[in-house]
Symmetry: C2
Subunit: 351 residues, 2 copies
């Protein structure tokens, strides 16, 4: 059977501790030659709206221990937008009645079969935040209690959940350029144990914090090296959030993956399309990656005064394979989603 | 609605002339910046059987005129086998009850939605053969009547159909290392208009032919330059079928795509796994590709005595987008396949 889930099913199926452990295991298996992934491909085409483009992203990865490969795809219409002088890429909900398409498809390494299809929305936010949390556990001072959070969207919420899950955080200062967003975020996320305070600038959000996290869709740098004080750990989810001075200021710098950036493919002869963000060419192989810290090949923080920086530089298929495995296992146990015959997606012709 | 087809649906939906025209159009649109594709990715993992590997292939491409992007994936267990001294890669039918997984997924460039899912079996053979037929129309002497065909599998059958469709072929000599295969092929494919004769060697199959076609899964070269006589057109479907002397012997050499070979991704530290064929590194950009011939940028055959060679070097997403578009259009008109709500594959979370 092939199991087809929606985001509610995925939400019910996710156990954070189990996913944290699964991802840590998959990262440790990578240098052992027991996990595999490839760089993300991004392919673009013209859209009928002049200021938008069609964008299709694909990436896959396998974790042998879990017996699965996951393919993650997104099929988006994207537009570059500016708010308060900051550029960001906006996805337009043109599918169905205001919906988006992002899918994780999970395949058996043993038989080749398609085991499940699920939306990538909840997984996407969770898998990025889990990797940030694993990075923070390796690099942050363990007694960190004060978090400065920039961003109030889905990624910011997921990072709030995961960072407060793995660290003894009791105070969060949150900034978003839109006052109503930061206000709403603070009201929604505050708990008895964690005080969330909206604040009016990036500088005031990060001042005096043990850990800083940016979780934005900005295309304009918002963090520079002078904002990083001794002892702090900084987590960024894309290189677009930081300026060059951050690389120099960090005493310990780790990244998610040495594979580095997205491979962009435009139609022949077309140099640019609306909503495309090209990463700066950079040799990512010189930085230690999360698997180096988790497998003990590279030490993490060695001194409380160090400035540590984890750049969650790009997603990998290994994240989706690990999450997909945990979710499908739980969904089967809980009887979640729709089941259709595997034959829908099989054939007797040898391709 | 998302339409889910099987191979019988695809077979019914395919109109060869329409697909030939669609692919030719997509190739002509490529240098105009109105079609787009990316190199194929191939990712491998260990399999529980020591002499096999798991292999996942993905590629995508879009044709703006048709309003679609197609993703093609295969999820295979592969094994290297030897027959009569020739090595070849065999796919093992371990999914379901002796089945394979290969899918084409078609997305709307306008909304991002998933329009259809179909097996790649019939499409795969047809799209390769269509490109070979377009190459033959550009390079072969138009009065070619005698075809030498090496191979009797699905690709050989599809090439037989397409080459006899676009050229006035009346005689086919067919060779396969297994006598029972070439005998069965000859009996099945002979018609009133086309005599098909099984023959006992590559040399006897190609002798005196106007056009030679190899459509095999061999990993050992079977055609060398000395088999190519003045005036002949030779079509190969993979570089593994030929030795280096063929490149030198051809007066006019065309390829399918300058993008060249597959990008192979193995687990870190693993150099080889069973069933992997690594292409020889080669600068494919120096050869004219099919879009150059079809758009008139590069002349095809200019002299009846020339030896022409078309190497259908690797598949592209543009082929699957063109075929997927034609098939879905026909399937809708004919009411083929299953329809499921698009919502199965959509979400309200911005990924």
């Amino acid at each position: 059977m092939t199991r087809i889930l929606d985001n509610d099913d995925v939400r019910q199926a996710i156990d954070l501790d189990e996913c944290l452990e699964a991802l840590a295991t998959a990262y440790r298996d990578l240098p052992e030659g027991r996990s595999v992934h490839r760089p993300t491909s991004h392919i673009y085409a013209h859209h009928s709206m002049d200021d938008a483009s069609y964008s299709f992203k694909s990436v896959e990865g396998a974790v042998e221990r879990f017996g699965v490969l996951a393919l993650r795809i997104t099929s988006d219409i994207v537009r570059q937008e500016t708010y308060n002088g900051a550029m960001r890429v906006e996805k337009l909900p043109l599918a169905g009645r205001g919906l988006f398409l992002g899918l994780v498809q999970v395949f058996s390494l043993e038989t080749g079969e398609l085991l499940g299809i699920m939306p990538d929305g909840v997984i996407q936010q969770t898998r990025v935040a889990i990797t940030s949390a694993l990075g923070a556990k390796a690099l942050c001072r363990p007694e960190a209690t004060r978090l400065g959070l920039i961003g109030t969207g889905g990624q910011a919420r997921a990072h709030f959940r995961l960072l407060t899950h793995v660290l003894p955080i009791d105070t969060v200062k949150v900034y978003s350029p839109r006052p109503e967003h930061r206000q709403a975020f603070a009201e929604e996320m505050s708990t008895d144990a964690i005080e969330v305070e909206p604040t009016g600038s990036v500088a005031s959000a990060v001042a005096g914090c043990d850990i800083i996290c940016t979780a934005t869709s900005t295309s304009t740098p918002i963090i520079s090296g002078d904002l990083l004080q001794p002892g702090v750990h900084y987590n960024a989810i894309r290189e677009f959030e930081i300026d060059e001075s951050v690389y120099a200021k960090a005493n310990v710098l780790g990244i998610h993956t040495k594979m580095g950036g997205i491979r962009h493919h435009l139609p022949p002869g077309i140099d640019d399309l609306p909503g495309i963000r090209q990463e700066k060419p950079r040799d990512w192989t010189v930085y230690p990656e999360i698997s180096d810290f988790l497998s003990g090949r590279v030490p993490g923080r060695t001194d409380a005064a160090q400035i540590t920086f984890f750049l969650n530089n790009i997603g990998t298929g290994v994240q989706f394979a690990s999450m997909g495995h945990c979710i499908l296992k739980a969904a089967e146990k809980m009887g979640l989603g729709k089941e259709v015959a595997s034959d829908w997606f099989l054939q007797d012709i040898k391709p």
